[in-house]
């Protein structure tokens, strides 16, 4: 909200108008020069209200000064509009009604005075409602902002948890495979090796044949165990770069050339999750907003970074702000220490760069 729409400006503007009217009334009337002191007092009290937050009871000073000038000139009756406004704009409009008594003691026809008082009361009440509404909107905006910050923090926490879980899963899998190899394959291979060493010293053919049979049986069992371990460790669904290839391959709207380079085995599982989401988002954007016929997808692992680039040959129809999907991906990339940038200058271009974890 722009500052000139602040309720305080509206209130000060009305105060100024009031004083302007009273001054005009004083100039146009036949009043003595010393009666101008009343206006000076009212101006002083109004300027104090503009500068400081005076309490509501301070309107008694305005009323008292006006009351002192009641016998001398009519400006003092109109001056009561100031305390009426001040009380109404503080929500104490019932007290403001008390000043309407001035209508009954005025020694002149009070129809205009009544209108002036009602106007002051109405404007004061309007300012009060305006301030209340603005306060309420500010509080709501603050709450929403707070909720958004909390949500963003939760998102960052979840992303960090995902990273940690992926790391833990990898370690658990390594441990399971090591245990499997040690418990089954290791024992059998050690037994077979011992049997072969014993075979060198055995002189009887029957005994030597038995030992060879034992070695054969153990090696056969080891081969079986090894096959089972490898089979269990191999995933059925495509993962990592294969999954990205799979997504690009089955995208029907435009023809896609997919290229990969570098040591992609160094890329962690949670990186692949983000890169897959980026690729899908980019391809969806190409399908929805671009008139491209070809697109290029590059996945490169170089040095300590992994980089995904998606570029098409079309023209982007809408050059608007990034949508919630891209915003969310940008935040996820940032939380992993990387970055995601999008450009529509020369076809749609998306580049996601993520830092690779150092080998542990």
């Amino acid at each position: 909200m722009k500052s000139y729409m602040e309720p305080a400006r509206f209130v000060n503007g009305w105060r100024l108008l009031n004083l302007g009217f009273l001054t005009y009334y004083w100039i146009s009337g036949e009043f003595a020069a010393y009666d101008f002191i009343l206006l000076l007092f009212l101006i002083l009290l109004t300027s104090l209200r503009w500068r400081f937050n005076l309490p509501a009871w301070s309107v008694a000073l305005d009323a008292f000064v006006c009351f002192l000038y009641f016998p001398y000139h009519a400006v003092s009756y109109y001056g009561l509009a100031l305390p009426i406004f001040e009380l109404a704009q503080r929500g104490k409009w019932l007290f403001a009604l008390l000043f309407f008594i001035g209508l009954f003691v005025a020694p002149f026809p009070s129809a205009w005075l009544f209108c002036y008082f009602v106007l002051a009361l109405f404007v004061g009440f309007f300012s009060y409602a305006y301030s209340l509404n603005q306060q309420q909107y500010k509080e709501e905006a603050d709450e929403q902002r707070k909720a958004r910050y909390e949500l963003e923090r939760v998102k960052i926490d979840l992303l960090a948890a995902q990273q940690s879980v992926a790391q833990q899963a990898e370690l658990m899998e390594r441990y399971r495979m090591a245990r499997q190899l040690h418990d089954h394959l290791g024992h059998d291979l050690t037994g077979a090796a011992l049997a072969l060493q014993a075979h060198e010293y055995v002189e009887e053919p029957d005994e030597a044949h038995k030992l060879l049979q034992e070695v054969k049986r153990r090696l056969k069992r080891s081969t079986l165990n090894l096959r089972e371990t490898v089979h269990n460790a191999t995933p059925i669904a495509p993962i990592g770069v294969e999954n990205l290839e799979y997504v690009a391959l089955y995208f029907q709207q435009v023809s896609i050339s997919f290229r990969k380079s570098g040591d992609l085995l160094r890329v962690a599982a949670y990186h692949w999750g983000l890169l897959e989401a980026c690729l899908k988002e980019a391809l969806t954007n190409i399908a929805r907003h671009s008139d491209a016929t070809k697109a290029e997808v590059k996945v490169e692992a170089a040095g300590s970074i992994i980089r995904l680039l998606v570029q098409d040959n079309g023209t982007v129809r809408q050059s608007q702000q990034p949508g919630s999907g891209l915003r969310s991906l940008k935040m996820r990339a940032r939380s992993l220490g990387g970055s995601l940038s999008v450009s529509g200058d020369n076809g749609f271009l998306l580049v996601c760069v993520l830092p690779l974890r150092e080998e542990e």
Partner: protein, 228 residues
Amino acid sequence: MTIFYFTLKRSFGSLTNLIFLTLAPIACIFFPAGEAWPALPYGYQYFGIIILFVAIRLTQIIIEDRARGVIKRLSVAPIRYFHYLSQNLFAYFVILILQCAIVIVGGLLRGQELYQPFALFTLYLSFSFTALAIALAWISIFRNKDIAFLVYMSLIFLMVLMGGIMMPLEMFPDLMKRIAVILPTFWFAEGLNWVVYGRQTSNFMLINGVLWLYTLVFLVLGSTRKMQ
């Protein structure tokens, strides 16, 4: 009181200021008396104009401070803006009091007809405070001191012309006479008239009271802290 002493030094720092603050009041002493109007010698009638100019000249230090970022630096220093402002104003008051004293004492020594010198001194003092407050409120609107000074010169001219210091108010139409009452210069001119013709002390006190009310209003308006 460091700011007070420093402001005094700064006020007399430049040669222009030194000449303006010392020679202008001395020159007033040597102006001749008018024939029919004004009743006081010209120098004493127009001393109000000099007070207005001196006030804006002095308060330019505050606008300079604002432009150079001193106010911004003060906001992080262990000093309140109130202290800064009050000590500055106090220094200006002291200078103006000295000027008023020079004019009155000089006039008495030269044998000028001042009617009621003490009342005249009191009036000059009250008007000095008002002029300072007006200048303070005026510079709070502007960022550039030269623009503030130039526009204020036109304003001073209007105020003294319409207020009855330069010309008798009787020459103006009725509406102008009523508008003149709004201006502080009118009350100063009224005060000068009282010094010459006045009998009731209450009237003189009322005139001074009005000038003090103006001072309060403009002090309240001009005391807002503006960083730039």
